[in-house]
């Protein structure tokens, strides 16, 4: 009988049945990598209005459009100056190999942006390759030490991560090789747990004091970022600003992870789109726009995404998963000595295929990106990875400036909310921009279609 003639339950569809039966067989929740797979309102649901009669565009290729970005101007005596507003998000050595961390640093340096350490500390390769390196201070404090604090260009205190706010972290034993174990002061091969809260402070009032300690240790030179997973973003951003952050990083639920329970990835946190608007509202409420910089992350993929994020009020974005895809994540092949070699059999051995893989947690990455396996990691050559990532970041930046010019901006930071409309009611409500063809922002205005509000009065 063809399944076409059978009726599938909406509540207990094949996916749900598989989940329940897997749980019944194993007694364990699923842990996986990547990020949320469900569709949530995102930047694709926004469109730019661009210039026409009422706005004057710039020539798309030649006219100057600045992408220079300053982060950490509030208190730090040495703020971060970047050539582009697109940064590499924090990802750990442990989740990624040292070769990958080196590739990230090299590419970031070549395009004039920053990269970020992750849980597990700073590797020498990463520091040497990165002109501008942000050093994360995480709850686990794995590998965290004052020498690297002094070597860093900025410190990022991580409160949470978009893929798993409130959930801490984990690195399964197959990725805890001798070097990772040594850097984290853990037994080799242990299924490692990263704490969900910091060991030496509790709550926003303590964070004020913790930030001042880091400022004292670094003689007030280095910018202090505070990163939050997107949940109660409006309040969290205000508290981070109150605590003295120079930069607030907000990571939405589409953010990636190397290993997290699926229940977290898909069911905890709010979409990046909604989080960004709340974060901007919080800065506006405190009159701190331009004083405290805002970095948004969580599912940023393209120049369009970056442009929309900047238009909504972000000062910069951070990209993690997109960066790994640029290196070859989910590609059907890897490049060694200039040769493209198929990885399909290795995907199949994991029970997956290129384009669908989320098996970062296994340490058996078929393209050598999320692995500590000494053989597999050779599948990512730092030079090749750096070149691919450089190309990707350049492309994203070109797309960004192209859109900005079309909107008549000589500086990408001049993009503004007024340049945006939403395709869906949900996105309009979350982003706080009008539904396309109307002046209606759900929850904020009562405008009607075609620029007329409920009274029928026309709007410009």
């Amino acid at each position: 009988m063809s399944t076409r003639d059978l009726e599938e339950s909406a509540g207990f569809d094949r996916h749900t049945i598989d989940y329940i039966q897997r749980a019944a067989a194993s007694g364990l929740y699923e842990i996986r990598g990547l990020g949320a797979k469900r569709r949530v309102p995102n930047f694709d649901d926004l469109l730019f209005l661009a210039a026409s009669l009422s706005r004057y565009p710039l020539e798309g290729y030649r006219e100057r459009c600045s992408t220079k970005t300053l982060l950490g101007t509030r208190f730090a005596s040495k703020p971060i100056e970047l050539a582009i507003p697109i940064t590499v998000a924090g990802m750990s050595f442990g989740a990624l190999s040292a070769r990958v961390k080196e590739a990230l640093g090299r590419a970031a340096t070549e395009v004039g942006t920053s990269t970020t350490t992750g849980d597990g500390g700073m590797t020498a390769e990463e520091r040497a390759a990165s002109k501008t390196l942000v050093y994360q201070c995480l709850p686990s404090r794995y590998g965290f030490n004052p020498d690297d604090v002094r070597r860093a260009d900025a410190i990022e205190i991580v409160i949470g991560q978009g893929a798993k706010p409130g959930g801490g972290g984990m690195l399964l034993g197959q990725k805890v090789n001798p070097r990772v174990a040594r850097m984290r002061t853990l037994p080799e091969g242990v299924d490692q747990r990263s704490a969900s809260r910091h060991p030496d402070w509790t709550g926003p009032d303590d964070l004020v004091i913790k930030i001042k300690e880091l400022r004292e240790i670094t003689d007030w030179e280095k910018p202090i970022y505070v990163k939050v997973g997107a949940t109660r973003t409006f309040n969290d951003v205000k508290l981070a600003v109150h605590a003295g952050a120079d930069v607030v990083v907000v990571d939405g639920m589409q953010g990636g992870t190397a290993a997290t329970q699926t229940v977290f990835i898909e069911h905890v946190g709010i979409p990046t789109l909604a989080a960004l608007r709340q974060a901007v509202d919080a800065l506006d409420d405190l009159n701190m726009r331009g004083t405290v910089q805002l970095v948004i992350s969580g599912g940023i993929r393209s120049g369009a995404d970056v442009a929309k994020a900047l238009a909504m009020g972000a000062d910069a974005v951070a990209i993690g998963q997109g960066v790994l895809v640029a290196l070859g994540c989910n590609s059907d092949s890897y490049i060694v000595n200039g040769q493209h070699l198929s990885a399909r059999e290795d995907y199949a051995a994991l029970g997956t295929a290129p384009g669908f893989c989320h098996h970062c947690h296994t340490g058996k990455c078929p393209v050598g990106v999320t692995t500590q396996d000494p053989t597999l990691e050779l599948r990512l050559e730092p030079e090749v990875g750096a070149k691919r990532l450089k190309n990707y970041l350049k492309t994203v930046n070109m797309e960004l400036t192209t859109v900005a010019r079309a909107c008549g901006k000589q500086d990408v930071h001049h993009l503004e909310k007024e340049d945006l409309v939403a395709l869906t009611v949900e996105a309009a409500a979350m982003a706080g921009v009008p539904l396309a063809g109307t002046t209606w922002i759900p929850g904020r205005s009562s405008g009607g279609p075609s620029g007329a509000d409920a009274s029928g009065r026309e709007h410009s």
Partner: protein
Amino acid sequence: MANLNQVAERASPARGGAHVREFDLSRDSLRQLNLYLHKQAVADGVGQIRVHNPDGAHSIACGLNAELDVQIHGHAGYYVAGMNQHAAVTVHGNAGPGAAENMMSGRVHVKGFASTAAGASAHGGLLIIDGDASLRCGISLKGADIVVGGSVGSFSAFMAQAGRIVICGDAEDALGDSLYEAVIYVRGKVRSLGADARFEPMADSDRAAVKGLLAAAGRGEDPADFKRVASAKSLYHWHADADQEY
């Protein structure tokens, strides 16, 4: 920027010829003090730095990276001697939360009581607390040694990874919860052990370790009176991929 020269003028010769630098935090700023300790103390060849009227100021003598002798006369606030390397810091009073947090080396001695999270995530060196330590003493410890003359609060040594903690008094609830490789020696009563922590027999090497740590802390308890608490290691592996069905 603090005026270091102005502060450095307040120097007095100490016994033996080494100079003592005096800071009075009722007049001098914390920034002046820490900047001096970071940038100038070594060049000055100063024998001892004395800090008066700390009045619970936070982050006193944090981020030191030299063999300095810092004496704090009074109570310190949060993060005294935080991230210490090489220096010997003595608090002639009580210390607030996070004393010697993330210490890498050196010696921090709190003559009074210590608040929460003393020695949190410390990688090396010796932290001595003559009095009691509050909640989460030695949380996330990564290799340092801690000797507590009094008792410790709940969740002490939580997720402690490496290092040793000697507790001469009692321990409150959940001692050693989720321990990795750190070892706890406790002399008094333990209200309860945390997840995966267990009592283990004291070997000769344990008694020798306790003896050495007590001696380093200037204490006279009998190592034979201590019990050993370590990880049962049942939480080391979750078998999350045990059946490989997905």
